[in-house]
């Protein structure tokens, strides 16, 4: 394993101090009126205690729900264009679960597919992720079925795993090393601990590679329509999902000035693919649900040879009508072509 250390609770407080002194904002899951959401913290004590996950994903840090791309003012006879500089504060994302940490990779795949998205990249450069392994999971989690794991270090610059009196800290990237360099003495040389024993037990629910290969053959299958019969076509699943990248460009202007905004969009919306002619290739909810599954489990692997889903289960928890993705995938996997 990369260099692993022990980090006591005390020294974690010290680490927070040095990070703050280094001018970095620290975002971590906090308790807010019964809900757990990302918030700015000064010390580990402010971080929520025994939470499963935040409701919304951490993608908001790199890909906010509304972002100004450019603005302009209209003066007599001419237009003054002003590019918007992305507001990228040096940030440390603490306490994020391994699945969400991994998700940044999926975002990165799209935002740097061929066009380098200036806004996303600016924020990612300033971002460091200190992941925290899961010690418990619920029915919605299925990270192990999509190549992840409760203590998987992918995507984390440093991965902490809770152990007696503190954490096992694995420094995985240069950014992780840079953080350790801020206060090296806080990191005691670690005695190899079996992470799997501590991490939560997440049973593999289905054979993902088999599903991915099976999907192209079942495009016309009735299963999608049946599953989507109860889907109400809202955008909750897409907006809480750490790997959903779809966005919509909105122009808000009046005769004197205007600005171009990027905001989240969802393939679940009825009008997502509505053509100006009135034709809609994905007319029914079944087609839209199918698109959500195929995008993450068929097109992503095909194009970026990685999955568009990290199995965090946020969509299942957020869905008003309890569309359980794991359950549906198991059902789909079970369908004979």
């Amino acid at each position: 394993m990369a260099n692993t250390y022990n980090l006591s609770h005390e020294s974690l407080k010290g680490l927070f101090g040095s990070l703050r002194r280094d001018g970095r904002r620290i975002l971590a899951p906090v308790d807010a009126a019964g809900r757990v959401e990302l918030g700015e913290v000064e010390a580990p004590s402010q971080v929520a205690a025994d939470y499963l996950q935040t409701i919304l994903s951490a993608k908001e840090v790199a890909f906010p729900k509304v972002e100004r791309l450019l603005s302009y003012t209209i003066a007599p006879g001419r237009v003054d264009l002003k590019d918007a500089e992305p507001r990228a504060l040096p940030t440390v994302l603490f306490g994020v679960r391994p699945c969400e940490a991994k998700a940044f990779g999926a975002l990165d795949a799209v935002f740097n597919w061929d066009y380098r998205d200036k806004f996303f990249n600016a924020r990612m450069e300033q971002l460091a992720v200190i992941g925290l392994s899961c010690t418990k999971a619920d029915e919605a989690c299925f990270c192990t079925s999509v190549g992840g794991g409760p203590a998987d270090a992918t995507g984390s610059d440093i991965l902490l795993t809770p152990i007696e009196g503190g954490y096992l800290a694995e420094v995985c990237t240069e950014k992780g090393a840079a953080i350790r360099a801020l206060a090296p003495d806080l990191f005691r040389p670690g005695n190899g601990v079996d992470k799997a024993a501590i991490a939560a037990k997440v049973q593999q629910a289905f054979d993902q590679p088999a599903l991915t290969s099976q999907l192209p053959g079942m495009f016309e299958n009735e299963v999608w329509a049946d599953q989507a019969l109860r889907c109400i076509g809202c955008g909750a699943c897409a907006f809480v999902c750490p790997t959903c990248v779809c966005f919509d460009i909105q122009e808000e202007a009046d005769p004197k000035k205007g600005e171009r905004l990027r905001c989240w969009d969802s393939c679940g919306f009825h009008q997502f693919t509505l053509h100006a002619s009135g034709h809609n290739p994905r007319e029914v909810q079944g087609a839209r649900w199918r698109q959500r599954v195929y995008h993450k489990f068929s097109y992503y692997p095909e194009r970026y040879d990685m999955l568009g889903c990290v199995g965090c289960g946020k969509c299942t928890r957020a869905c008003p009508v309890d569309m359980n993705l794991k359950e549906h995938l198991i059902e789909a996997a079970g369908v004979k072509a």
Binding site: I74, P76, G77, D254, P255, K256, S277, G278
Partner: protein, 663 residues
């Protein structure tokens, strides 16, 4: 991008005085989409309009904003000019720099800036204007005149002589109105009956006129050119066709002691009666409130006597619905009663009468056959006091306005009295003499100089009865406010002219606006005196404001000319400012979801259901559709519709949104 022309008008000084029009024209050049911006002193003038038309052709403009006065004034003018210049008239909008800017602000930079802002709002609107084409609506070439007085009769005759059908509706059993109650008329003193009755007969016999007397308008639906009017023909309790008007029933009717409305309570009439001898139609009516048969079930003398047994005791009111193209209101006025004057004894003195009662005393067909007899004891009054402005010009009585006709008829009354009682003394208490018509002042001078009517300038503070005399306590302000006490035998109050009974109710039935005194509101006091704000409904006579006979007849002909004008073309072109429910190609067909919540919002029932059929004939969806003929363009449905499926042409969501964006 549109090519818009802005034409800023000085409107003489109205705008030019406070707004720097040259600067405004300059500033408007910078508005995106404006390719031509000029100013001119009088845009609405002929040269002004021609200048605009040339600019449209020369600069190939497709939108015009005229920054001048209120659209209510000259929108039609400029739209017609724009139309003649080759662009769709509805691509021309007006910015109101007068009422919205120059008239309400001081001269200054901010005012000029506001003027430019207002223009920019309308330029943004014009960018979203769509070419619209007037709606063609069939016109029912039948007019209805409500009110059978001299005004109503004149309107009916003029329209009928114009070759169109007229229905003349009169509330009382006969046409004639108040004029039939008068004795002589000023300023010529010619007998009222003699000049009115021929007109009444002419109206009754005119092939184009249908008389509906003893009838009231109950309900009016529809709109200009297409009114549906429901009239209640009150039961006369006799068959009009069989009755020959011989009058036998009237002579024989035992119940003779009913107070006669026609004679203003001075005379009495029978239960079955004809209002006055020259009544048209000369068909009696049974007064069911006082007729013995309806009280006790006995009598039936009239039925027995009637040679053509035309009496129908069980006759019911009849509701008649008529297709009407235009309506003229000529419902006249009423006089304030004498009991409205506490200072003159709350009406308890019999010998204090109002002007109309004096007319009846003076009229040959009146209760005293024209002989001056005072109501209390029938003696010939030796001293008569006439009090002008009784109730009029008196805020405490709720009538601050001048009733216009009293000065003239008071002089006439004094003159008539002197002609009938040469030895009598006539006094007139007045505030100001308002005799502004032709030969009017000369008439009053004649009363003063030739008939020695004593005019005392002052008010009467109190009248009380003493030893059979009426003690009139007044003051003579020309003699230093000297108290004047006159022992009079009879006092005539020239009471205020008020709107007729239930005029507000009628106005609401016809959706016509009215003022706080119940008079109907004309569309524009100076420029459209005979029209109302409700298209297709016109006004004539005292129902609009106190008015004498010459003016009433003149207005009547004016209103008739408007109606004949309206009927002169086959179809009526209506402003295309109507609401439309959007339609799109299949499979969407429309964003309307067919909830029909809009139907409740439409006062004109203009929203219909349209079933969209598949080729198989199966109904796919039911959508709302607006009948352009009925829609008046108020836009209530547009704001009520949740999915914004309805839009109002001329005030569309996009136009208003664009205007809002530049506020």
């Amino acid at each position: 991008m549109s090519r818009i022309g802005v034409f800023t008008c000085h409107c003489g000084e109205n705008i030019g005085a406070t707004v720097d029009c040259v600067k405004v024209a300059e500033m408007c050049k910078d508005i995106p989409g404006v390719v031509h911006s000029v100013e001119y002193k009088y845009m609405c003038s002929d040269p002004g309009q021609r200048q605009m038309q040339e600019a449209i052709k020369e600069h190939k403009l497709d939108g015009v904003v005229v920054a001048a006065c209120s659209p209510r004034m000259h929108e039609p003018t400029f739209r017609r000019a724009a139309g003649d210049a080759g662009i769709n008239p509805y691509m021309c909008e007006m910015a109101n720099l007068r009422e919205h800017c120059s008239w309400v602000h001081e001269k200054g930079e901010a005012t000029t800036q506001k003027a430019a802002d207002l223009i920019r709002v309308l330029v943004e609107k014009v960018k979203h204007n769509e070419p619209l084409h007037p709606i063609k609506v069939p016109v029912t070439r039948t007019a209805m005149v409500i009110g059978g007085g001299v005004g109503g009769i004149q309107v009916a005759l003029d329209i009928a002589n114009g070759g169109h059908k007229v229905v003349l509706v009169e509330k009382s059993p006969s046409i004639g109105g108040h004029m039939s109650q008068l004795s002589e008329t000023f300023p010529t003193l010619d007998c009222s009956q003699c000049i009115l009755t021929p007109r009444m007969v002419e109206a009754a016999q005119h092939p184009n006129i249908t008389l509906m007397t003893y009838s009231e308008v109950e309900k009016v639906d529809g709109f200009i050119g297409n009114f549906k009017v429901t009239v209640r023909k009150k039961a006369r309790k006799l068959d009009e066709h069989l009755c020959t008007g011989c009058g036998l029933c009237i002579q024989k009717c035992p119940n003779k002691k009913i107070s006669d409305e026609f004679n203003e309570g001075l005379g009495t009439r029978t239960a079955i009666y004809v209002p006055f001898p020259q009544a048209v139609p000369n068909k009696p009516v049974i007064d069911t409130l006082n007729c013995t048969y309806y009280k006790t079930g006995k009598c039936k003398v009239c039925e027995k006597m009637c040679p053509t047994n035309a009496i129908r005791f069980d006759q019911e009111d009849e509701l008649v619905t008529l297709d009407i193209g235009a309506i003229v209101l000529a419902t006249g006025f009423k006089l304030m009663k004498t009991d409205a004057f506490p200072e003159y004894g709350y009406g308890k003195h019999k010998d204090i009468i109002d002007g109309m009662q004096f007319e009846r005393l003076a009229s040959a067909s009146g209760p005293t056959s024209g002989v001056m007899k005072r109501p209390s004891d029938g003696r010939s009054p030796e001293t008569v006091v006439f009090i002008a402005c009784s109730g009029s010009r008196d805020r405490a009585k709720g009538v601050p306005y001048c009733s216009k006709i009293c000065c003239m008829y008071t002089a006439k009354h004094a003159m008539l009295y002197k002609h009938k009682v040469h030895s009598g003394k006539a006094y007139v208490f007045y505030m100001d003499i308002r005799a502004a018509g032709k030969d009017y002042d000369e008439f009053v001078r004649r009363a003063i100089e030739e008939d020695e009517v004593k005019y005392i300038r002052g008010r009467v503070s109190k009248i009380y009865e003493e030893d059979g005399k009426l003690i009139v306590m007044g003051a003579d302000t020309l003699m230093g406010g000297e108290p004047v006490v006159i022992k009079a035998d009879m006092v005539v109050l020239a009471t205020a002219v008020q709107s007729n009974d239930r005029s507000e109710e009628l106005a609401q039935t016809l959706h016509v606006s009215y003022d706080s005194y119940g008079f109907f509101a004309e569309a524009h006091p100076k420029l459209r005196p005979v029209e109302t704000n409700t298209a297709g409904i016109f006004l004539a006579g005292a129902c609009q404001a106190p008015r004498d006979i010459p003016e009433t007849v003149a207005q009547a002909s004016g209103a008739a000319a408007k109606v004949v004008g309206l009927f002169s073309n086959e179809e009526l072109t209506r402003e295309p400012i109507v609401a439309v429910v959007n339609r799109q190609a299949a499979p969407v067909y429309s964003t309307c979801v067919g909830c029909f919540i809009c139907q409740g919002a439409c006062p004109y029932q203009a929203i219909e259901q349209e079933e969209i059929m598949a080729r198989s004939g199966e109904v796919i969806m039911t959508l709302a559709r607006i009948n352009p003929g009925l829609c008046q363009g108020c836009g209530t449905c547009v704001a009520t519709c949740r999915t914004k499926a309805i839009d109002l042409q001329g005030f569309s969501n996009e136009q208003l949104y664009a205007e809002l964006m530049t506020l």
